[in-house]
């Protein structure tokens, strides 16, 4: 099982999900993708997307702060 990281900081919707889907589509079943975003809207959007996504499961979501105090939204997906 591989873990890949995707940095979409500074982008707004639809970019985080467009890029996450491109990555997920090229991964093997069981691989994980950790997406780091700065757009708060990505939290409900990832939850909404995985409801119908053919290849993605949302394993977890968390928030962290970067060195400048900016809020980071981290989504961990698994290729199914």
């Amino acid at each position: 099982m591989a873990l890949k990281k995707l940095d979409v900081r500074g982008t707004k919707c639809p970019i985080p999900i467009v890029k996450a889907k491109q990555e997920i589509d090229n991964m093997a079943a069981g691989d994980e993708l950790e997406v780091t975003a700065t757009d708060a809207g990505s939290v409900p959007d990832f939850q909404g997307w995985v409801k119908t996504a053919k290849h993605a499961i949302l394993k977890s979501q968390r928030t962290e702060k970067d060195d400048t105090g900016r809020e980071l939204y981290i989504h961990v997906l698994e290729r199914k």
Binding site: P14, K21, W49
Partner: protein
């Protein structure tokens, strides 16, 4: 069918500005709104017009996951107007719809722009009044916030401005006047006031009364109960604004009576309800204050007084003239909370009717007390419609 691709670098898609779109929706033109936000955002805050807006909801990520399936959910028989939170996802969807041969436009700026959009309506005055002054109600329709511009000769006063202050500067300048004073009816908790910034930019006095228990970190000009502000100079065109303290929604809430007839009530009295007195955590004390403000402080005003509030809840409250207003005599009969006889029953009724506090009201309050915040934070906090009324549907349904 083409895969969803990044919109960056693509040729610009057709767009529509809100100032063109909203009048078309108000007239009931046969447009179909395609709202591509997520479920929560869509359910909690919708674009409204004076006629029902026909809408289909298809989240943008459904287009990313399965473009053909999502396209099949969009009717093909009308001009499509695509809307999202900020305008980026809807741009991608417009591109996909275009590739499928459908005529679609992107709402520039999305719901963020809708929440900031201002439009002015002229309050109808009598012929003699209209010779001396004009009164405009500025409707921030996305939030249901109302502010006011009063112009007498070359002087203007702005009441309860939203934070998009350059709009007010431009509006007044276009009418050959200059803003001489900025007033807030109270310390707002649902939106960030533009009052301090507008006054600072123009070096004119700013008034707000925060009331007991709030430490205001910005300079204000004091106004006492009953004080009169003269506008338009000493000549025959001058009008007066009378200051009337009406505590309750907040301890400092103030109403302004313009030229003896037009009562800017802030969040004290709306056209279908009253302001909620619970946001400070003192619903009994503030609720009693509100009861007495409504019963006693406005008692001597004639039935012909026109009430112009700081909020409304929906298009049904907009009159045929395009203004949200009511005759005080009429509201005394129709607003459910004004039918209640005792302060105890009033407090019980409003306490039972209010919903949870608005999500970010304490953050917004801090900004209005003078704490700095970034544009991005403020935009996020201001999302959604105001929830300042004790009850949008009357206390009987609570």
């Amino acid at each position: 069918m083409a895969e969803a691709s990044e919109p960056a670098g693509a040729s610009p898609v057709p767009t529509v500005e809100l100032r063109d779109l909203l009048p078309r929706l108000d007239r009931g033109e046969p447009l179909l709104l395609v709202d591509v936000r997520n479920q929560d955002e869509y359910e909690s805050w919708k674009l409204e017009a004076r006629r029902p807006v026909e809408t289909v909801h298809v989240p943008y990520f459904d287009f990313i996951e399965d473009a053909a399936g999502a396209l099949a959910r969009v009717p093909h028989d009308r001009e499509l107007i695509v809307l999202c939170a900020k305008g980026g996802s809807s741009e991608m969807v417009v591109e996909l719809l275009g590739e499928a041969g459908l005529s679609a436009r992107n709402v520039n700026g999305g719901m963020i722009a809708y929440g900031a959009y201002l439009e002015a309506a002229s309050v109808p005055l009598s012929a003699t009044e209209a010779k001396r002054f004009s009164l405009f109600q500025v409707n921030r329709r996305g939030k249901g916030c109302l502010s006011y511009v009063i112009i007498a000769r070359d002087e203007a006063v702005v009441v309860d401005p939203s934070r998009h202050v350059s709009w007010y500067e431009g509006f007044v300048a276009e009418r050959g006047a200059r803003i001489v004073q900025v007033l807030d009816t109270h310390l707002h908790a649902d939106h960030v006031s533009g009052g301090p910034e507008l006054a600072r930019r123009l070096s004119v006095p700013y008034f707000v009364s925060a009331g007991e228990g709030f430490e205001l970190r910005q300079p204000v000009t004091g106004l006492v109960d009953g004080e009169q502000i003269r506008l338009g100079g000493e000549g025959g065109v001058s009008i007066e604004l009378r200051v009337i303290r009406t505590p309750g929604h907040t301890p400092g809430s103030t109403s302004f009576l313009v030229d003896g007839r037009y009562l800017l009530t802030g969040d004290t009295l709306f056209v279908a309800s009253v302001g909620r007195p619970d946001l400070g955590g003192h619903v009994v004390e503030w609720g009693r204050d509100l009861f007495f403000s409504l019963r006693d402080r406005l008692a001597d005003l004639p039935a012909e007084t026109r009430v112009l509030p700081a909020h409304y809840t929906g298009p049904a409250e907009i009159s045929a003239e395009g203004v949200v207003w009511g005759r005080l005599g009429e509201l005394r009969k129709t607003v459910p909370e004004l039918q209640i006889a005792t302060p105890e029953a009033f407090v019980d009724a409003v306490r039972g009717a209010v919903k949870d506090p608005p999500a970010a009201y304490s953050e917004i309050l801090k900004v209005n007390l003078g704490r700095p915040a970034s544009e991005e934070q403020i935009s996020e906090w201001e999302l959604g419609k105001n929830q300042c009324a004790a009850s949008a549907h009357g206390v009987d349904e609570a």
